[in-house]
């Protein structure tokens, strides 16, 4: 009988650091996309609250905390990160396992905003994009999800198959920012 070994999307690529900024891979646990059935968004919110203690987020917002987070993931789409989805959610939403679909990385450091400013066309200054804010946007040519999880920390998600490009793009930007910081 076969034994299957698992590999993370960024295996062998991370962590990398430059200029006080670190990019590392996050094991976000189970990732489940939730797409509420017609008129059932509120019911889904209640079921979520009851099962994982996190509210259904508004557009461009995330709720919960590390290990159990719900992020707005597009029009009519939410991503539950961490816990197994309760069976009750299936009555209110289309539930799809996406645990292996995304490369999830974390960018930490005072200059993290400067690094992302090289790649993401969004206003990510703290006054516009605070802790708990999230967006679907572009990072270079890649479609990503970006969430500010802490004052100096961003969670970035890209397609698993693009993990190498994701790391390359961010690392290049990190080095550029670090070189400038050197005076």
């Amino acid at each position: 009988m076969a034994e299957l070994s698992a590999k993370t999307p960024c295996a062998g690529l991370l962590p990398v650091s430059a200029g006080g900024v670190t990019l590392s891979e996050v094991d976000a646990g189970v990732l489940t996309s939730l797409s509420p059935r017609r008129g059932r968004a509120e019911a889904l919110g209640k079921a979520l609250d009851a099962s994982v203690g996190a509210k259904l987020p508004e557009v461009n917002r995330a709720t919960g905390e590390a290990g159990s987070r719900v992020i707005w993931f597009g029009q009519g789409q939410y991503l539950l990160m961490g816990p197994d989805p309760a069976a009750a959610l299936g009555a209110e939403a289309a539930v799809t396992d996406q645990s292996d679909a995304w490369a999830v990385v974390r960018l930490d450091g005072v200059a993290a905003e400067d690094v992302l400013a090289r790649l993401v066309p969004l206003d990510l200054r703290a006054q516009s994009f605070a802790v708990g804010h999230t967006a679907r946007s572009m990072l270079g040519h890649m479609s990503v999800s970006i969430t500010r999880t802490d004052p100096d920390t961003f969670q970035i998600m890209a397609f698993r198959s693009m993990a190498k490009t994701l790391v390359h793009e961010i690392e290049t930007a990190m080095k550029g920012v670090a070189a400038r910081g050197a005076g």
Partner: protein, 976 residues
């Protein structure tokens, strides 16, 4: 020559660089231009067309003459303005557009035949024979005329792109910009202050006046220090704002490391996109030259540039300086030169009522009409009431007045207005939404005026931002009125330059007018005035004034040409930063990528994905050997192929079945749970969009596969249908392409292989052809589909992607033990051609379901996207080119894709074309080339002979038309 005790350069830091191989000494803070002038180097460049000797003309980014090449080899940078390039140790600078040397340039002969080379010369002369233009005339002309050259090598430098956001963008850090930034910064606004210079301060650094009792430069330094201390202010020196775009977006080019010998990992340049709620343009003004004969001689400069070299760089641009002016600015230059100990030989003022404002010889009501010397200015001749006089001089400072730098205000199609009192175009409020203007760029030329307008504009911006402005204390500074009398060109017979960079003279503009190119835009194109790197910053207004005069119109009626971005040249490398080579697009890798590469498989691009082409075995030297072996292996044993790149879409919801009935031509609501069906999808215009299989996973849950190429477009199409065409359906769409690693297990031994892997064995009953269901591999839940793209007994097994590599390696090992192994795209392609299965080579966007022989798949029982449109006349019938198979008949056995089909015996010409080949391959199974093709009325012509002609590759092959399914037409093997 340096002036002791003057200038802002750091005299304690010597810098050695080279100019055309000669070592030149400068100081930290110098530009190439200031260091060359300090070393009395006057000849810096050769002009565009006539190869005239040229020197430094200005002191800023508008420089038209002193263009040089920096660096060498692959990293060389042409057309760099010597007035912008800062010096550093080891900097290598070369002059341009000369051969063999700057001092002795053969093509300077052009200057002596100049009467033949005026505007329109090429158009009129090189007309015959027509074919000569492209092959002979144009290359020769391009070689003779021009500026710097590219290395034509791959650029190894790194560049960057970045985004920035702010409340207020202040463009330009002269007196008005500094004052605006201070006012807004102190009030707490999020401010970006961008200036193209390395040293912020603008004219405050170049002029000798005082602000608040200290030198202008000292006040600027103090202001910059305060701004730097404010956390809400971001200073961006060496950053030229290049364009104003929609919704408060501005382009800006930052020169990050052009001034550093060792970049230390920094990019060369960064192209910024700055989004600002408000902006204030404080771009200043550019002093304009006056046209007179030989006014382009090295040593003739703008008067303000002369002041800048004296005050900022501590350099005297000449030993005996003369001044030619039509306004008071020339007098300021004379006074500051004298104060610095530089001899002023003469001031020539065109105004009869010129003020006597200093201790220097002054001629009023006179005009400089010629200049002597060739590689350096030796004398000027001025014409007064009393006649012409010659004065010995090695530097002439010219001021024809000032042109406000209105460029950015015009980038959204606004037009500036003419102000008679200052003889200048100025912006009108509101030309760029959210932008205010202050200081010289709107025609306010005194330092006091600039400071107070900067503060006022900041107040306006703050109010709009909802912030309270503190009481603005405007520092004390000169407030001299600006007085001038217009003078654009001095009369005379010789050539008087308007556009130095493109070698356009007053005569050229008059010639254009004479030949009825009277519109300023036509004049520009006819003479090339205002083109090339400086985009006419120094010459546009002068040229249109001459045109206005020549056509008997006023300047405002004549109007300006269109100001377009970018304000300064922007390298493509900066705009496309990060996109060189592999950076052009993201790379997508399957989980089996590493294993495939390790097996020596050449990887080919399929969209963004990389897929193995074939897996070379020991002893195989050509791809065909590998491909043939892999095909046989699949037909006889079992092959493994990564098919994860195919699009996978989960379709869920109570209306999922109805939704699929609408997007597919055939019926899906009748599909049983646990079964798979092949589906065909049309575009709205009735053309085939994509094909693939869809499995019914549950009553309300379908799993669709798309082709690799169409994964994105199909998802977009489904979203469109769900949101726009059938919004009443409760259905949700979710791409799961990335979630699953999916592998084809193909061949007679496929089930045998699978049963060594899965936790519960399968058989023909539990998994008949077109069945699907959940399986598990050592406890890992996966999906199994019994589908086939090869005509063999085959499956696709999917596991969560984290297990993909592990499963792949194990399956390949097991396959090899069974006499099989991995197969690549080449074998996959041959296998499907043998079976007549289509790909996007066949459904290429112009073929209908009828064409590919699937007309009956468009269900008559229901409607679907594209159905009605597919029934249009001309999309069905004998006149259509229909899918057929081709087999070679004669001695030539080769088939090629993209070749055309002709009736046997017909001329292989366009008019006789009957169709074309789309996919070909050599079938080791049938030991023949096989082709799929579209042939007019092809289905009725099976058995007929046609000629395949590939005009590009020179291949002609006699072929027999046949059914596209070459192998196992009964389909027995797939059910085996």
């Amino acid at each position: 020559m340096r002036i002791d005790g003057k200038g802002l350069v750091d005299r304690s830091k010597r810098v050695i660089f080279s100019f055309d191989g000669q070592s030149v000494e400068g100081f930290a803070g110098d530009t190439v231009a200031s260091a060359l002038l300090a070393n009395d180097v006057k000849l810096v460049a050769r002009s565009f067309k006539y190869h005239r000797p040229r020197g430094v003309m200005g002191a800023g980014s508008e420089e038209a003459n002193a263009l040089v090449t920096v660096g060498r080899g692959a990293a060389q940078d042409p057309n760099v303005r010597a007035t912008v390039q800062e010096v550093f140790d080891g900097l290598e600078v070369h002059s341009q557009n000369r051969w063999p040397s700057l001092e002795f340039d053969i093509l300077a002969a052009n200057d002596f035949v100049s009467p033949f080379l005026g505007a329109g010369f090429y158009y009129k002369t090189f007309m015959w024979p027509k074919a000569f233009w492209e092959k002979i005339y144009e290359p020769v002309i391009r070689r003779a005329a021009g500026l710097g050259a590219l290395s034509k090598q791959h650029n190894p430098d790194s560049y960057e792109r970045a985004f920035a956001f702010c409340d207020l963008l202040v463009i330009g850090a002269g007196p008005s910009g500094l004052m605006a930034a201070l006012t807004a910064g102190r009030a707490g606004a999020d401010v970006i202050l961008a200036d193209e210079d390395a040293l912020m301060g603008g004219r405050l650094n170049g002029d000798g006046g005082e602000v608040d009792g200290m030198s202008g430069a000292a006040w600027a330094a103090q202001a910059v220090a305060e701004l730097a201390s404010l956390p809400n202010v971001r200073l961006m020196p060496r950053t030229a704002v290049t364009g104003a775009y929609d919704q408060g977006t501005y382009g800006a080019l930052e020169r990050v490391s052009h001034h550093l010998g060792n970049a230390g990992g920094r990019p060369k340049e960064c192209f910024w996109r700055i989004v600002a709620k408000r902006s204030i343009l404080c771009a200043g003004a550019i002093e304009r030259p006056i046209a007179f004969e030989n006014n382009d001689r090295p040593g003739i400069m703008t008067a303000s540039a002369v002041r800048t070299y004296v005050n900022r760089y501590g350099v005297a641009p000449g030993k005996a300086v003369t001044v030619f002016t039509n306004n008071d600015s020339g007098h300021q230059t004379a006074r500051e030169l004298i104060a610095a100990g530089v001899h002023v030989a003469m001031v020539v003022d065109s105004r009869r009522d010129a003020p006597e404002s200093g201790d220097y010889p002054l001629v009023k009501g006179a005009e400089v009409c010629n200049a002597g010397g060739r590689k350096a200015l030796e004398s000027i001749t001025y014409r007064a009431m009393s006649g012409e006089e010659k004065v010995a001089t090695d530097c002439l400072a010219v001021s024809g007045g000032w042109n406000p730098t209105v460029h950015l205000t015009c980038h959204m199609n606004g037009r500036p207005v003419w102000r008679e009192d200052i003889q200048s175009f100025v912006p009108v409020a509101g030309m760029i939404p959210g932008m205010d203007t202050a200081g010289a760029c709107q025609g306010t030329f005194s330092t006091h005026g600039a400071l107070s307008e900067g503060a006022a504009a900041a107040g306006t911006a703050l109010a709009a931002l909802g912030l309270a402005a503190g009481a603005a204390e405007v520092p004390v500074a000169e407030d001299t009125p600006y007085r001038l009398s217009p003078l654009w060109a001095v009369g005379g017979h010789g050539r008087a330059w308007l556009d130095f960079q493109n070698d356009v003279t007053v005569k050229d503009v008059k010639q254009a007018a004479k030949e009825n190119f009277r519109s300023v835009e036509h004049m520009k194109r006819y003479t090339t005035q205002g083109m090339s790197p400086d985009q006419g910053k120094n010459s546009n207004i002068g040229a249109l004034a001459v045109l206005a005069d020549a056509t008997g119109r006023g300047i405002p009626e004549t109007g300006t040409t269109t100001y377009r971005p970018p304000f300064v040249p922007v390298s493509i490398a900066a705009m496309g930063a990060g996109a060189q080579g592999a950076g052009f697009a993201p790379q997508r890798f399957t989980t089996s990528h590493t294993a495939s590469v390790a097996a020596g498989a050449p990887m080919i691009e399929a969209g963004l994905w990389y897929r193995p082409s074939y897996f070379p075995a020991a002893g195989e030297t050509t791809w065909r050997q590998s491909c043939d072996r892999e095909v046989n292996m699949v037909r006889q044993a079992v092959g493994i192929c990564d098919v994860s790149t195919l699009g996978k879409i989960d379709i869920q919801g109570p209306d999922a079945a109805e939704f699929l009935d609408f997007v597919y031509t055939n019926m899906f609501s009748t599909l049983k749970v646990g079964r798979v069906r092949y589906g065909l999808m049309l575009r709205e215009d009735g053309t085939v969009m994509d094909d693939g299989t869809t499995a019914r996973w549950g009553q309300d849950h379908f799993v669709m596969t798309t082709t690799t190429a169409a994964a994105g477009p199909v998802m977009r199409h489904l979203e469109y249908v769900a949101q726009c065409l059938r919004p009443e359906l409760d259905v949700s769409l979710m791409s799961t392409t990335e979630q699953w690693a999916q592998f084809a297990v193909t061949g007679p031994k496929s089930r045998e292989l699978l049963n060594t892997l899965v936790d519960q064995e399968i058989d023909g009953e539990s998994f008949p052809f077109m069945a699907c269901g959940e399986i598990s591999v050592s406890g890992v839940k996966g999906r199994l589909f019994r589908i086939s793209f090869s005509g063999e007994h085959a499956y696709e097994i999917a596991v969560p992607a984290r297990y993909g590599e592990s499963l792949y390696r194990q399956m390949v090992a097991k396959a090899e033990a069974l006499g099989g192994g991995a197969y690549g795209m080449e074998a996959l392609n041959v296998l499907r051609i043998e079976k007549g299965f289509i790909t996007h080579s066949e459904i290429h966007g112009r073929t209908t379901a009828f064409d590919i022989g699937m007309g009956r798949m468009v269900s008559a029982k229901k409607d679907c996207v594209g159905k009605t449109m597919s029934e249009r006349p001309g999309l069905n019938g004998d006149e259509r080119e229909q899918l057929v198979g081709l087999k070679p008949l004669g001695p030539v056995k080769q088939l090629t894709a993209g070749a055309h089909l002709f009736e046997a015996g017909a001329d292989p010409t366009r008019e006789n074309a009957q169709g074309y080949t789309t996919s070909v391959g050599f079938s080791p199974t049938l030991e023949s080339f096989l082709g799929l093709a579209f042939l007019r009325n092809g289905r009725a012509r099976h058995g007929e002979e046609v000629m395949m002609v590939d005009h590009l590759r020179g291949v002609s092959t006699r072929c027999e038309v046949c059914d596209p399914v070459f192998f196992d037409p009964e389909g027995g093997r797939v059910r085996g």
